[in-house]
Symmetry: C2
Subunit: 424 residues, 2 copies
């Protein structure tokens, strides 16, 4: 487009933008929250204990104290989901984020095993942070004072050349965040090669840990879901059985905030973490664990249940993707992924436009996740990534919000191009 084409397009976009403003919208697309119809799928949980009892299969009364590692049937359920053994699983409370926090907190204070040095005794603790990534992962590290090193995300996972190089040369690098399946926000699933390289790479730190947040392990959107290689098997095969902590939860299977969480790791990791958690709590909410097992039963039944989620979510993702394609397709000002699962669509604008897009949308009544939030320290170096969370709003609102978003992307892009003289 030449300057006058752009100016003409801008005039038209500004008119459309003004009309949106007049609608006084108040739409929220900031977080990956399930919608009401999804929540309704799990209302059966409310009567699960009443219906099927409060005792475990081995006779434990879940109404009383005890059972730090979780009830046997819940461990078995997550062992199925995460493809590990039941005694490689601890079932936690309502928040897998809290299990991640505890794992880092324990490592900082006590190390990662009986004879290891606490991470806090090193002059500087650093984590590799594939980006864009999950803002709460990064916020947690910042709160702990752990230095974050951004790693580019590629089509098949983190840039493994960079990961391997850095991990091999710096003993202060103690961990890496991974969302290996339907990654937040890109919706990418790690390739087999990526999984194997993570499991097998040389690390200068012998207490290096992969924080593997498998939040979307069964959260498919299509009938042709991504396959993720079993990292625990790869770690064992590579002789690094203790390298990975795998996290997951039912937050987006049943109820966010009222689900159950799990940590899977080698038996020695589990033993060490359990020992430290024993000073912190007498045990998790076993009634909620049992209610979940009553309701979810087994992996096969979970897969059926997740198809109901997908039936609600797919039209929402399709609507966003179709709108992006219609409004922005072929214009060379925006790029996005078409995920097979997860909770987000990751939108990339021209460099230096993301903040402006989010600001424009906000001013017209649509809240998006803050630009930059998907990068360490909230700083997107190229200011171009926007996380779209299509799950919560009803379709009619989502349509409006996405159309507005597309207008804002074009406004910001064309203005930038004019400003920079980037036109034919």
């Amino acid at each position: 487009m030449n300057q006058s084409d752009i100016q003409k397009a801008l005039n038209n976009l500004e008119e459309r933008y003004a009309k949106f403003k007049e609608m006084n919208l108040k739409l929220d697309m900031t977080r990956g929250r399930p919608c009401t119809e999804q929540l309704d799928l799990s209302n059966g949980l409310f009567s699960a204990i009443d219906k099927y009892g409060y005792k475990t299969e081995n006779g434990i009364d879940c109404r009383n104290y005890g059972g730090l590692e979780g009830i046997p049937e819940a461990r078995r359920l997550f062992a199925q989901i995460l493809e590990v053994e039941p005694d490689e699983v601890i079932i936690g409370g309502n928040s897998s984020l809290n299990l991640m926090y505890d794992a880092i907190s324990i490592a900082l204070r006590f190390g990662t095993g009986p004879n290891s040095k606490p991470w806090s005794h090193y002059p500087k603790v650093k984590f590799l942070c594939p980006s864009p990534g999950y803002d709460r992962h990064f916020a947690m590290l910042e709160n702990f004072g752990i230095e974050m090193i951004a790693i580019d995300m590629k089509k098949d996972g983190p840039d493994m050349d960079a990961v391997e190089k850095l991990a091999a040369e710096d003993e202060g690098i103690k961990g890496i965040w991974c969302v290996p399946k339907y990654s937040n926000p890109d919706g990418i699933t790690y390739s087999d090669e990526t999984v194997d390289r993570l499991a097998g790479m040389k690390t200068a730190a012998d207490d290096f840990r992969i924080f593997y947040d498998n939040a979307y392990v069964v959260h498919h959107l299509t009938d042709n879901p991504d396959r993720l290689k079993n990292i625990m098997a790869s770690c064992k095969k590579a002789g690094n059985p203790d390298r990975v902590y795998i996290f997951s939860s039912t937050s987006k299977i049943t109820f966010p905030g009222s689900g159950i969480s799990a940590l899977a790791a080698s038996r020695s990791n589990i033993e060490f973490i359990k020992k430290h958690i024993s000073f912190q709590t007498i045990g998790p909410n076993k009634l909620n664990q049992l209610a979940h097992v009553h309701f979810l039963r087994d992996l096969k039944h979970i897969e059926e249940h997740m198809k109901k989620h997908a039936a609600i979510l797919r039209p929402k993702f399709d609507l966003v993707l179709d709108t992006l394609e219609r409004e922005l397709g072929g214009k060379n000002i925006a790029w996005w992924n078409r995920p097979n699962g997860g909770y987000f669509i990751s939108l990339f604008t021209l460099d230096g436009c993301a903040k402006e897009v989010v600001k424009l949308a906000k001013e017209a009544g649509v809240s998006l996740t803050g630009a930059g939030a998907t990068y360490p320290y909230g700083k997107d170096p190229r200011d171009r990534n926007i996380r779209i969370a299509p799950t919560m709003p009803p379709l009619n609102e989502l349509k409006l919000a996405t159309e507005l978003l597309c207008i804002c992307v074009q406004l910001a892009s064309y203005r930038k191009m004019l400003e920079n003289g980037d036109c034919a």
Copy 2:
């Protein structure tokens, strides 16, 4: 008694002990667990959400994310219980122990307020530990590497002369553990004077905190319950509004491990702790909070509910106390409290006998809380305190266990007296 009286008594006791051994008992009195009849009192919780809905009074859907500080009606309920304002309360997960752990962890890592120094930056962090006390409080401090200073328990609470002297002179002393009502294990309730002195005393550390574990706040055993002065009011009056963290839970009101917990503190304390917890979790299990409010309603209803607990527990406490009186009364070898509430009876033997008593009981099939567990580092300096937990066993088992305990106390005492030549 002269030597021959003692020998005669011992012969008789050894005979009785041998008979107990033949019974092959396997009784557990180690922990303060509610019994099945108590748990049954709260089965109404199972259907509470189904019956009364999943939305809060202000329309929040408790099935979704959010609400770090807890739902308004749960905050109000604990504000009633703890005699504070609703915005001075955070509702946590299923474990008040975890809230205590988090409070200490945050203080060690970040301090107690926006401009305070992290406790871990001091050369040595110390806590005052009124003893006998709760073993898990002490174990937690030991795990954190915090030095424990034992303080004697008197009839009206900790030895305040010692507490005031130490707190005033040592900036490294950052806290004190208190179980102010029906203390664990002594069943003592702090006097008004003790509460006021704790609230008003000079402390060398301006970030000194009282960890006030009000675990048994509504857990009366008699119709004439103890009254505890409001420490939050006393702290405010003394100009030390930030001095106290109050903890409580429904663990022994509804279900241990599946209840809800609370932290009450000044608004600025709440703000600071909330900020740090926000990196650790997206929020607590609001459905469980709402179920509890549906089921427990208000303080008046809780008091009625607790009377049902008392009706189950009082015969158990009476049985133990009557047996102690009958077997050991007037013999000058053992002393105990007659608590008006709580979960324990604290038994004191002659110096140097507690470990032997617990060992003898164990060998005859009755497990008691380990001797020494009620003191910092598990070391009872005079080896004389035994915590009796009468709540869990049925009456017939409790009768046997207490009779055996009394035989063991006499065996250990008389043997000790013979050994020491402590007889007429």
